[in-house]
């Protein structure tokens, strides 16, 4: 149990640090990367996914691409892009964006596909334009799954950003990589613990958002206006 004690000691010490290596700074960095990459990846992947889901085109390519990307080793991608784009934050962030795209894309087209085709047909026959169908029928009804895609992406990025410390990124991963370099296990364990806590908190937040979004399907009280 001395390992546990050492880790707790380290956490206590690190909590009182200020500056670059302080816990608050690393957590903020980590959150910052996550928000930034998921935001950029969302702008690329979600509209594309919505379009694929609504029109039904390129579905096979999308499914194949998302599946293929799951097989790509994250460390491999990080080091490869790191060598090509050089030192600095750009390389790992590019890699993170690329890795965040598949879950976002999948969530978007799966969400649209899950909507009952009869409902879509009814909306079309009433005289909704295609854009109105997408925004007023498909997205509201598919929202829970779309949010689920964002949730996956966020967790994916949190995990990968930790690994990306190896190629120079800041964030909580620094504790793991730096700790490894000097065989400081309490630092590595402390950092890992913090990453786990961060991941669990973010997951809980998104689980809550998903639950809210699911209420569209089985609303209890308040009607949505047109």
């Amino acid at each position: 149990m001395s390992v546990l004690n050492d880790t707790i000691d380290w956490l206590a010490d690190a909590a009182s640090l200020s500056g670059d290596d302080s816990i608050s700074n690393r957590v903020l960095e980590h959150l910052g990367y996550t928000v930034e990459t998921v935001a950029i990846a969302s702008v690329i992947a979600i509209p594309l996914g919505l379009w694929i889901g609504h029109t039904g085109r390129f579905k096979l390519i999308a499914v194949g691409a998302t599946g293929a990307m799951r097989a790509l080793p994250t460390l491999g991608l990080l080091t490869l892009i790191g060598l090509y784009l050089g030192i600095g934050l750009t390389a790992p962030l590019v890699a993170l964006v690329v890795l965040a795209i598949p879950p976002l894309l999948a969530g978007a087209y799966a969400g649209i596909e899950a909507v009952d085709p009869q409902t879509v047909d009814a909306a079309r026959s009433m005289g909704f334009t295609e854009w109105q169908i997408l925004t007023r029928v498909e997205v509201p009804l598919g929202l829970a799954i779309i949010v689920g895609g964002i949730r996956s992406a966020v967790l994916q990025v949190v995990a990968t950003a930790t690994v990306a410390a190896y190629v120079g990124l800041g964030g909580l991963g620094r504790y793991l990589i730096d700790g490894q370099a000097v065989s400081d296990y309490p630092q590595m364990a402390g950092g890992s613990f913090l990453v786990v806590v961060l991941a669990l908190i973010l997951d809980a937040v998104f689980a809550g958002l998903q639950a809210l979004a699911t209420r569209n399907h089985r609303p209890s009280r308040h009607p949505l206006t047109v």
């Binding site: 293929a68 080793p73 994250t74 990080l78 060598l83 190896y166 590595m188 613990f193 990453v195």
Partner: protein
């Protein structure tokens, strides 16, 4: 690709090592998850707890788990056992969900008919329920094997030798070819394992139509 031709031995050694660690972890994860999934399917109360627990496990970033497990298990951080336990845990975490879905997908009227025909409870589970849940379980194993192969590469960061070591080494020594070779080898391994799983599925479940590429 001079690097590849110069280092074929290393590649082969790492490839095999990566293969058996991934395969073993996937197998263990599967073996653990199916019974848990079956119980969770049977008992709604257990289902809620196990899905939640599994969800938590799945949320934990892999590198963090690789680091924390030795502290919890008491093994050295470099030990392969450590990595296998971590990967098996992930595999199990994903598979439990699939296993529950798989058993849910078995049509209740069929089970009913089996009981009425005279199958005992354990016979029914082993000879009817399990085979019928097979296709969904298979699809789950395919997904898990791919992610396990990919996830193992991260363990190179804590010093465990596998194909991922090509990434750390290549990055440090600025050899792009080495990294590309690593990626290619991992993808290749994932495909090979997938084919093997599909073949195993065809052998064990000749009645089902196994569609290659399904569920990806």
């Amino acid at each position: 690709m001079t690097w590849v031709s110069d280092n074929l031995d290393l590649l082969r050694e790492l490839f095999l090592r990566h293969a058996w660690i991934s395969a073993l972890s996937t197998l263990i994860g599967f073996a653990v998850a199916v019974p848990i999934g079956w119980y969770a399917h049977r008992h709604p109360r257990l289902r809620g707890i196990s899905v939640a627990l599994v969800g938590v496990l799945y949320t934990i970033p892999s590198l963090a788990l690789f680091v924390l497990l030795p502290g919890i298990l008491g093994t050295g951080i470099l030990s392969t056992v450590n990595v296998i336990v971590a990967l098996s845990t992930y595999a199990a975490a994903v598979m439990v969900r699939t296993a529950v879905d798989a058993f849910d997908s078995v049509s209740p009227p069929v089970l009913d008919a089996a009981t009425a025909s005279g199958f005992s409870s354990s016979q029914r589970t082993l000879r009817v329920e399990l085979p019928l849940a097979g296709p969904v379980l298979l699809a789950g194993v395919r997904v898990v094997s791919v992610s396990t192969v990919s996830m193992l590469s991260v363990a190179s960061l804590i010093g465990v030798a596998n194909l991922g070591s090509l990434f750390t080494d290549g990055f440090r020594r600025d050899i792009v070819d080495e990294i590309v070779a690593g990626i290619a080898a991992i993808v290749l391994l994932a495909i090979v394992l997938d084919v093997l799983i599909v073949l195993a599925g065809r052998l064990l479940m000749p009645w089902s139509r196994v569609v290659v590429g399904a569920n990806r």
